[in-house]
């Protein structure tokens, strides 16, 4: 128990919430450079929060009558989400200044959304889960539409809002059914109640399906992915970066916890849904990305594909699956941080890079940048010796452990298809002759450079000392 009431501030979520308000006030009262200062403060706050999450493994107080839960899995994903948002705030700072979007609210929105994600990951109750999802999403809706004078940004915000609200509604309806049929909102109570039965009754199955649909929206799994490419495309690049990197982490953790905690005994019921989501996401992600000319849409489909692989590990539903998901999610975050750090620093004729074909000739003007992009792309395609390969490798280990042979074979086939569009980017950079050279500008701030080098280092050098991450992820319990 707590000895001192002040200790309440050292609970990570409460600390983050209070600090976000402080940041808001700080930003309000600053006249000059409000955006830059708030961003720096936000990064600092998030760093402290990581520290608190790391040392806060024992406090039962944070469970709030088991509204929230505590486990190594939760902490791992919390730290992952925090790291992701730190990285995306740092890499996007110069971009925002570059497009003269200096609203100091942006880092604050990121902070609140990160808070929502931390609560999402930890939630152990249908109600807290819903509220956390809403906190996270509302901040993101605003972030998507933050560039008020741009039609595409507003469009993406509205699209995201409408579809997100729809999915939240479906989710809530599912919750109400589950609550109605089990009489509890708590994950453990639901699990305990259900353990008395061999099958789910019809109402609960409906509830489960509705919740799955809502969660599939949040992780953008096919066929509930339609918002992803449009939102990615319309939002400012740096917001897209945040979308690609962070919310996926929380949503994946949530879908894992929802399937494996209250419904752990009803594997057959939910695994069919996840199986379908997984296969369709992998294939649609791979095939639809081939035709894209916009790099943001391409990355959107690529993230859909990656979600498909993470869901394979969920279908496997064993300890190896959890391990695989955490390794895959880590590699996914690192690769996206790296690619967005580059994209947010590339300018073509003073405009930020959007079209893939503008990468033409990059290998001549910026050999190191194009080499980095190639490494990231090969890693995303799952070619050894980069980190992306090990993510996929662990996923397939988990699947084969569960004798999901057909799913694994489909998974590798989809990875071959997706290799095509990753290779296409390398092809454009290296193989295509460019007539006009030197129109691509690569300017990167010192801080983003550190983030970029660090993530590239992890992508390349993971193979030399894999045990560090693997031992952590092997010890995770849900």
């Amino acid at each position: 128990m707590l000895n001192n009431i002040y200790n309440i501030f050292f609970i990570p979520e409460i600390f983050l919430a209070c600090s976000s308000f402080v940041c808001l006030l700080f930003g309000l009262f600053l006249k000059k450079n409000a955006f830059r200062q708030t961003s720096n403060l936000a990064v600092f706050v998030l760093l402290l929060t990581i520290f608190l999450v790391y040392y806060d493994s024992e406090s039962n107080f944070a469970n709030y009558k088991s509204l929230f839960s505590h486990s190594s899995f939760i902490n791992f994903f919390k730290i992952l989400a925090l790291l992701g948002s730190i990285a995306s705030i740092i890499i996007s700072k110069d971009y925002f200044l570059g497009i003269r979007l200096k609203n100091f609210e942006i880092p604050i929105l990121f902070l609140f959304s990160t808070l929502g994600m931390m609560l999402m990951i930890a939630s152990n109750n249908l109600m807290s889960m819903y509220l956390a999802i809403e906190l996270q999403s509302l901040s993101l809706y605003v972030a998507a539409a933050i560039k008020r004078d741009s039609i595409s940004s507003a469009e993406s915000g509205v699209k995201y809002f409408i579809l997100g609200a729809l999915s939240s509604g479906i989710l809530l309806y599912g919750f109400s059914l589950i609550y109605g049929f089990t009489g509890s909102m708590n994950f453990y109570d639901i699990s305990f109640y259900l353990s008395k039965y061999d099958n789910l009754n019809l109402g609960l199955i409906f509830g489960l399906v509705f919740v799955m649909v809502g969660l599939a929206f949040k992780v953008s799994a096919v066929p509930f992915h339609m918002w992803t490419p449009d939102v990615y495309e319309g939002a400012p690049n740096s917001i897209t970066g945040f979308f690609a990197i962070v919310p996926k982490i929380a949503a994946v953790a949530l879908i894992y916890r929802f399937c494996l905690v209250p419904f752990e005994n009803f594997y057959l019921e939910w695994s069919q849904i996840i199986l379908f989501l997984s296969i369709s996401s992998m294939f649609l992600g791979a095939i639809a990305a081939i035709a894209q000319s916009n790099i943001k849409r391409l990355l959107a489909y690529s993230s859909i594909g990656h979600i498909g692989y993470i869901l394979i590990a969920l279908v496997a539903a064993n300890d190896d699956g959890i391990k695989a998901a955490s390794i895959y999610m880590f590699s996914y975050m690192i690769m996206n941080v790296a690619i967005f750090a580059i994209l947010l620093s590339l300018k073509v004729k003073n405009e930020y890079l959007i079209n893939i074909s503008d990468l033409k000739g990059l290998s001549k003007s910026n050999p190191i940048v194009s080499l980095s992009i190639s490494i990231i792309m090969l890693s995303m395609a799952g070619i050894p010796p980069f980190i992306g390969f090990f993510g996929k490798f662990y996923v397939f280990i988990a699947a084969i452990e569960q004798e999901l042979y057909v799913l694994s074979v489909l998974g590798v086939l989809a990875s071959v298809i997706s290799a095509f569009y990753y290779l296409r980017i390398i092809k454009i950079m290296y193989f295509d002759e460019s007539k006009s050279e030197g129109i691509i500008n690569f300017q990167i701030s010192f801080q983003s450079k550190i983030i970029l080098s660090l993530s590239l280092f992890l992508i390349i050098c993971f193979i030399f000392y894999p045990s560090l991450l693997i031992n952590i992820s092997a010890s995770l319990t849900i």
Binding site: S363, I383, S415, I426, K427, F431, N471
Partner: protein
């Protein structure tokens, strides 16, 4: 014996050279430094691999120079490398051909010399690493990593249709190899081991073996390549730069044969027994069909590419005969083909550098202006045909002797292919070399210069050496092959 990690040094020396090259600035004047650095690195690797051969213990059938470190804490994946009689010559082949490739690209690679040499050095590391690994996951990592440099080599420095060829090469071979990944994981799940040495003891049930065999077959049949999975090869060969074709024909195709020996024969003997008729049929079709296709080619490189498919057909027959003569023949044929086809591609490169065309019609009567060239070309051409005294003869002869024990139909098919190979190679030689010069552009073509002599003469010597003293090569591999055959027979006798 040697008490320092010789195999690891050989594997990673090219990578160290590459990291040095990374810091050499590239412009008109300094690109020569990059070339020299690459040449010295590859030569150093070759010399070290010769030590491997000199110190090799012929009386030991299993792995030598083993190095083993635990790599992943959570499952039995080791950095485990070593050399046995089968991999020894594959490694030597890789280290022998790479310096020649660097030399062959000395003048004709003008753009992006640095990236080119980096790709080749990286390629050498992964090739050697693949042949030396005793851990299947390590093998797989190297096996797939080969695609990255090769994709870049074809795509950046290749011919007109290079993009099509590079994508086809990458995706085709990736499709095969990802299935192997699944097979590897299944093997690990059944045995909790990833050691090639351990897995060569037949631990799988019959049905599992059949599926595993098909998965491995998918990757090796594409790689070697067998008919009908060969269509990537002519494209890749024709579009790749000369040195790329040399490595492709010389080493990368052998990865398939090596994989068949190690995995299909070694680990899945009962399934192999079941699938032997399939392999024999495909191989004979490959030999006859691709020989006929080769006969009709108008592009020299394409002709040699199709002849490679035919020669690899002999290799697959030899491997799946699973007897001493067959396997030794297959190994000899692989080594010989590695040298001969590499040399033929280099020969094509010589005239391509001068005339920038590979059309057979363009040439004719080269013997008038290039007597030396005509001589070395003849040696390699005869090596490809399999004339006694050259390396090609030993392999084909041994395979045919082995095939008599199996079925005379196979012998007829293989022999027919060998006759056809004589037809298309001699016909090619006649059209390019003999006669009088009819094309005015050839009137002042120059004979091979010193650099080209340095490249071609060692190859010619080794082709003849292999043909006259085959035991030099057969002795080290004999016991390792016997081990595989014994295991195979024990498994199938049950």
């Amino acid at each position: 014996m040697i008490d320092w990690p010789l195999v690891s040094v050989i594997i990673f020396l090219p990578l160290i050279g590459a990291s040095i090259i990374l810091f050499i600035k590239e412009d008109e004047l300094t690109s020569i430094n990059i070339k020299w650095a690459a040449l010295l690195t590859t030569l150093g690797t070759f010399i070290l691999s010769l030590i491997l051969w000199l110190q090799f213990d012929y009386s030991n059938p299993s792995y030598q120079y083993e190095e083993k470190f635990r790599w992943f804490d959570d499952f039995n994946f080791f950095y485990h490398v070593g050399v046995d009689g089968i991999s020894l010559f594959m490694i030597l082949l890789s280290t022998f051909l790479t310096p020649l490739c660097v030399l062959a690209s000395w003048h004709n690679i003008k753009k992006r010399v640095k990236e080119y040499m980096l790709s080749f050095l990286f390629l050498e590391t992964v090739m050697i690493g693949m042949f030396a690994s005793i851990d299947i996951l390590l093998f797989y990592i190297f096996f797939e990593a080969v695609l990255i440099p090769m994709y870049l080599i074809i795509g950046i420095w290749g011919g007109n249709r290079r993009i099509y060829a590079s994508f086809k090469f990458f995706l085709y071979t990736l499709l095969g190899s990802v299935l192997m990944l699944i097979a590897i994981i299944v093997m690990y799940r059944n045995t909790s081991s990833m050691s090639i040495e351990f897995l060569q003891g037949n631990y799988f049930s019959y049905n599992t073996q059949l599926f595993l065999w098909l998965a491995f077959f998918a990757s090796f049949a594409v790689k070697i390549p067998m008919w009908p999975f060969h269509t990537w090869l002519p494209d890749a060969h024709v579009e790749a730069p000369t040195a790329g074709s040399v490595i492709l024909a010389g080493v990368l195709l052998k990865m398939g044969g090596y994989g068949f020996i190690r995995f299909s024969l070694g680990m899945l003997p009962e399934a192999t027994e079941f699938f032997i008729p399939l392999i024999m049929t495909l191989s004979i079709v490959a030999i006859v069909y691709t020989s006929l296709v080769a006969l009709a080619q108008t592009d020299i490189k394409k002709l040699i590419a199709y002849s490679s498919v035919a020669h690899m057909g002999i290799v697959t027959i030899g491997i799946f005969l699973v007897n001493q003569q067959g396997l030794e023949g297959a190994m000899m044929q692989m080594i010989s083909h590695g040298l001969v086809s590499a040399a033929l591609f280099l020969c094509v490169g010589v005239i391509y550098d001068r005339m920038h065309t590979r059309e057979i019609k363009f040439y004719g009567g080269l013997v008038q202006r290039m007597p030396l060239y005509a001589t070395v070309f003849m040696i390699f051409m005869l090596g490809s045909v399999g004339l006694p005294g050259t390396s090609g003869f030993i392999g084909e002869f041994l395979v045919i002797i082995g095939a008599f024990k199996f079925s005379s139909y196979v012998v007829i098919g293989a022999a027919f292919g060998i006759i056809l190979s004589a037809v298309y190679m001699l016909y090619l030689y006649k059209r390019i070399i003999f006669g009088t010069i009819t094309n005015n552009k050839l009137a002042d073509i120059l004979d091979i210069n010193t650099r080209e002599k340095i490249i071609l003469i060692p190859l010619a010597i080794s082709v003849i050496l292999l043909g006259i003293f085959p035991n030099l090569f057969l002795d080290p591999m004999r016991l390792s092959l016997e081990l595989i055959i014994t295991n195979y027979e024990i498994a199938n006798a049950k």
